[in-house]
């Protein structure tokens, strides 16, 4: 046999051919690489959540190597002296060991917790973006529902995780959770007893929460996230209106190379921010809370921020108890309304919103172009109302800390929350509605009369007027050519028109060299550059 010479350079090509022979991937792969994504900073908010989820999986897996989900009583004998000799559950002891005996364990735990907070925060911010720009409209209602489910599943993931270390704070949270389950009419005590395996706290809840926290809930999250991303892929991303952008196309960058590189870089940035926070900001110092004991509590016992709105609603709820005088008498405790009914309403309202709006507007069309919040005052105002409702509840969830640190009466804080919850949302609705109308009017004004130039001219009769630069060539010769509003940013400064030269570049401070030309996607420079001709992409426009 004659040995053939091995050609190293041909290996990639040959293996590509071999792969395509077997799997026929060439066409789908090219379609994938070529897929066009629109480019806007607000489209990256969801990615923050996605990337923090990846960090959560990584750090969480690390933590499972050391955490022991058991409520067996042990006596702590680790290196943290102030707890030595204290009886505690094995779960709490292993959480302490994780922080003090495992080298680098503390930063992993802190990164996991910060990533969880960031995950939920990014979900909320992303959701607000989607809501206020109308990205949830047909055909994306399904993805909106999945997104709001992701919030609630993330909420469960967070709560189960918060409960696992079995420290004083998490035990207090569990106790309240058991009370919430107890408050459900008719079946409450059965639900609680079944979940806790008997009377609170029982001996099994940590193991059950553990399997929910590390297997069931992450699997559900992973499934929902996959469908969420799959649908974004299938339905293609929405885009802002702008030159060349229509309801039937996507204007942006192809996935490879630039878009994918940006995503990869952004993942590293998210990871880096989480690592920095995990190292620099102490979160949930479980060693100070001590083991959970039913008779121990700390002032300012609060849940993590995304649960705080429920804590707030519970604090604001008046003591309205419903007694049902049948037989021995039955009770619906006041706890039931703010913790079971309210979240139920919120889930229902948020998932149904796209359908409610479409029904109200009799809108059955597909929408791929986003709307500026100011152009849909009713929706924007309703969103502001919802946000202010949520903020009042969340602040009330921390009202004892606020009362203490700003020296306000605690009772006054509660009353402020109760009254604020009724007054602030309608006020927010009204103010936002008027703001939207005002902004709309200003846009129309600029379109009709032009941009303020800052040049004051004295008229022959002595009046002073400011010169306006019309945005279009004047068809009537009087300098007032009215343009139609296209749902996109109206330039309101002279340099945006190119009248004062291009806007100075630089993010935080201006870079000395001015930009070569104002560039915006879909708006190619007026004069093609010679090097563009060389590459040969220039003609396609013509």
């Amino acid at each position: 046999m004659k040995r053939r010479k091995f050609d190293l350079a041909a290996v990639p090509g040959n293996s590509a051919v071999a792969l395509d022979d077997r799997f026929q991937v060439a066409t789908p792969l090219r379609r994938l690489l070529n897929k066009v994504f629109p480019d806007h900073w607000s489209f990256l908010l969801g990615e923050i959540a996605l990337f923090s989820f990846i960090v959560l999986l990584l750090t969480g897996t690390f933590l499972t190597f050391f955490f022991e989900p058991s409520m067996t009583e042990v006596v702590y004998d680790g290196s943290y002296a102030p707890l030595r000799g204290t009886p505690m559950s094995a779960a709490y002891a292993s959480s302490l060991d994780l922080s003090f005996e495992v080298r680098g364990g503390l930063i992993m735990r802190q990164m996991h917790h910060w990533a969880a907070l960031l995950f939920m925060a990014a979900i909320v911010v992303h959701m607000l973006r989607v809501f206020f720009t109308g990205a949830f409209r047909k055909p994306r209602e399904t993805n909106w529902i999945i997104g709001s489910l992701l919030f609630w599943v993330g909420f469960l993931a967070g709560f189960t995780g918060y409960s696992l270390p079995d420290d004083g704070l998490s035990g207090t949270g569990l106790r309240i959770a058991s009370a919430i389950m107890l408050s459900i009419p008719v079946i409450g005590s059965w639900v609680t007893s079944s979940i806790f395996g008997g009377e609170f706290p029982g001996t099994i809840i940590i193991s059950r929460f553990f399997i929910a926290h590390v297997l069931l809930i992450p699997a559900l999250l992973l499934a929902l996230i996959s469908v969420h991303l799959g649908l974004v892929f299938k339905q293609k991303h929405t885009q802002w209106p702008g030159p060349g952008r229509t309801n039937g196309n996507v204007v942006g960058e192809r996935m490879f190379p630039r878009y994918a590189i940006k995503q990869g870089g952004f993942f590293m940035v998210v990871f880096g921010v989480i690592a920095l926070m995990g190292g620099l900001f102490q979160i949930n110092p479980i060693w100070l809370f001590g083991p959970y004991e039913a008779w121990v509590v700390s002032a300012a016992s609060q849940p993590d921020w995304y649960v705080m709105f429920l804590d707030g609603s519970t604090r604001l709820m008046p003591a309205w108890q419903i007694n049902i005088p049948i037989g021995d008498g039955y009770v619906i405790p006041p706890l039931f309304w703010p913790t079971v009914v309210l979240p139920g309403i919120l889930v229902g309202l948020s998932t149904l919103y796209p359908f409610l709006e479409a029904r109200h507007l009799k809108d059955r069309k597909s929408h791929n172009l986003l709307q500026r919040p100011r152009d849909v005052p009713a929706r924007t105002a309703a969103g502001a109302m919802a946000v202010s409702f949520y903020v009042v509840l969340t602040l009330s969830g921390a009202n004892d800390v606020i009362a203490d640190k700003f020296q306000i009466s605690l009772n006054a804080m509660t009353w402020a929350g109760r009254i604020g919850l009724l007054i602030v949302p309608p006020l927010a609705y009204y103010v936002t509605y008027r703001l939207c109308l005002g902004l709309q009017q200003h846009d129309r004004e600029v379109l009709a009369h032009g941009v303020e130039t800052g040049i004051i001219r004295r008229m022959p009769d002595g009046r002073f007027v400011e010169v306006h630069q019309p945005l279009s060539a004047a068809p009537h010769g009087d300098g007032h050519g009215e343009l139609e509003y296209t749902g996109w940013v109206v330039p309101k400064k002279m340099n945006r028109l190119g009248a004062l030269g291009p806007a100075v570049r630089g993010f935080f401070y201006p870079i000395e060299k001015p930009a070569e030309a104002p560039v915006s996607p879909g708006h190619p420079p007026v004069e093609p550059r010679p090097e563009r001709e060389e590459i040969g992409s220039g003609e396609s426009r013509r």
């Binding site: 070529n34 196309n249 509590v297 604001l316």
Partner: protein
């Protein structure tokens, strides 16, 4: 707008033969994009090859990557050699986690911004337009798929043979229940087993033996242990009384001042609890009737008891009636007395249900 209409015109064009000699690689790339209904309308390098600007950017990106390597190495060095084991007080071990965070975080930011700068500054800017093809589903496609499905359903013939459908349904329903049964049946637990929701550790032992009030370290409590204006958390003197197994039993024993005690006794009499106090001592459940937190912030001058979880406030001198916040039910009072040896005992168990409210509480 114009670009879009031009793009529409591309639909009917002849596909380019990619084997034509003299085609650049970009021509092929653009042809590929066109076959996917993507038009690359703008593709422009941001820096001229070999220019000063390019060299500067390359230096920047390379610098970021090298910084990443440096910081990652620093992370490893700190991880291995920095003292990390907990020691009380202040010391270098307290900087272990922050240093790991700074080195790891900055190195990740380094690689992140390196990649981003590479993608953002060094790669050509592009604008591509892709068709969505939405609503382009041909009507006859829908018809064909629909008919196929209906045909297949018809072939099964459930309509003609109703027995099959009904029996399948009846047969499958129990199977579904079989799947659910072990889960539900295994988890379900009777909340009223041993009357557990209505008893606490203070229920007299089998021989009618009254249960002592003990402290967290197990010592029984004498009246002289608490000064006037003081409070003490007490537990039932039973096995595991001071543990989470008796999570409903922790009780607050309060020594009221004379005038407050008088008021308190009067209030007790109003609700038929005349003999619940012993002297100036009163004992109330520490478990909030609202959500079960230990309501234990005792204000000795106002005699209010505040729960730190939801700010319910109870007035001790008025049978621990809720005076503020979301709690709707007073804290149950434990009837106490002092036994022959001079220690506090519970006369009986709580006479009201302890802990958060639920549906069937009488």
């Amino acid at each position: 707008m114009s670009t879009h209409t031009e793009h529409q015109a591309q639909q009917g064009r002849e596909p380019l033969d990619v084997n034509t000699p003299g085609l650049t690689r970009f021509d092929i790339v653009r042809e590929g994009a066109r076959r996917d209904d993507i038009e690359i309308v703008h593709y422009e390098p941001q820096v001229v090859a070999g220019s000063k600007a390019e060299r500067r950017l390359v230096r920047l990106v390379a610098g970021l990557f090298l910084l990443t390597g440096l910081l990652a190495t620093a992370f490893l060095v700190i991880y291995i050699w920095w003292p990390w084991e907990y020691a009380p007080g202040r010391g270098s071990d307290k900087y272990f986690t922050p240093l790991l965070g700074v080195t790891l975080g900055l190195s990740l930011l380094g690689v992140g911004f390196g990649i981003l700068a590479w993608g953002k500054k060094l790669l050509p800017k592009e604008v591509s337009i892709q068709d969505r093809h939405e609503g382009a589903v041909a009507e006859d496609e829908r018809t064909i798929t629909g008919q196929t499905m209906v045909y297949m359903a018809d072939e099964l013939g459930v309509k003609r043979r109703p027995l099959l459908g009904a029996s399948l349904l009846l047969g499958l329903a129990p199977v579904g229940a079989v799947a659910a049964a072990p889960l539900v049946g295994g988890l379900i637990s009777d909340p009223h087993k041993n009357n557990q929701m209505f008893t606490t550790g203070f229920a007299p032992a089998e021989g009618g033996q009254k249960i002592r009030l003990i402290r967290e370290d197990g010592r029984p409590v004498r009246p002289s242990d608490i000064s006037a204006g003081g409070q003490l958390t007490v537990f039932p003197g039973v096995e595991h009384g001071v543990s989470n197994r008796h999570a409903d039993s922790p009780t607050l024993l309060i020594h009221l001042r004379d005038s407050d005690a008088q008021e308190s006794r009067k209030a007790n009499e109003r609700v038929g609890h005349g003999d619940y106090m012993w002297g100036n001592y009163a004992a109330f459940s520490k478990i909030c009737t609202h959500a079960g937190c230990p309501a234990s912030l005792y204000e000795q001058q106002t005699n209010r008891l505040l729960c730190p979880c939801h700010q319910s406030q109870f007035l001790i001198t008025d049978n621990a009636r809720p005076v503020f916040g979301p709690a709707s039910r007073r804290l149950p009072q434990l009837p106490i007395e002092v036994d022959s040896e001079g220690f506090f005992v519970a006369k009986s168990d709580y006479t009201e249900t302890v802990g958060p409210d639920f549906w069937e509480r009488p």
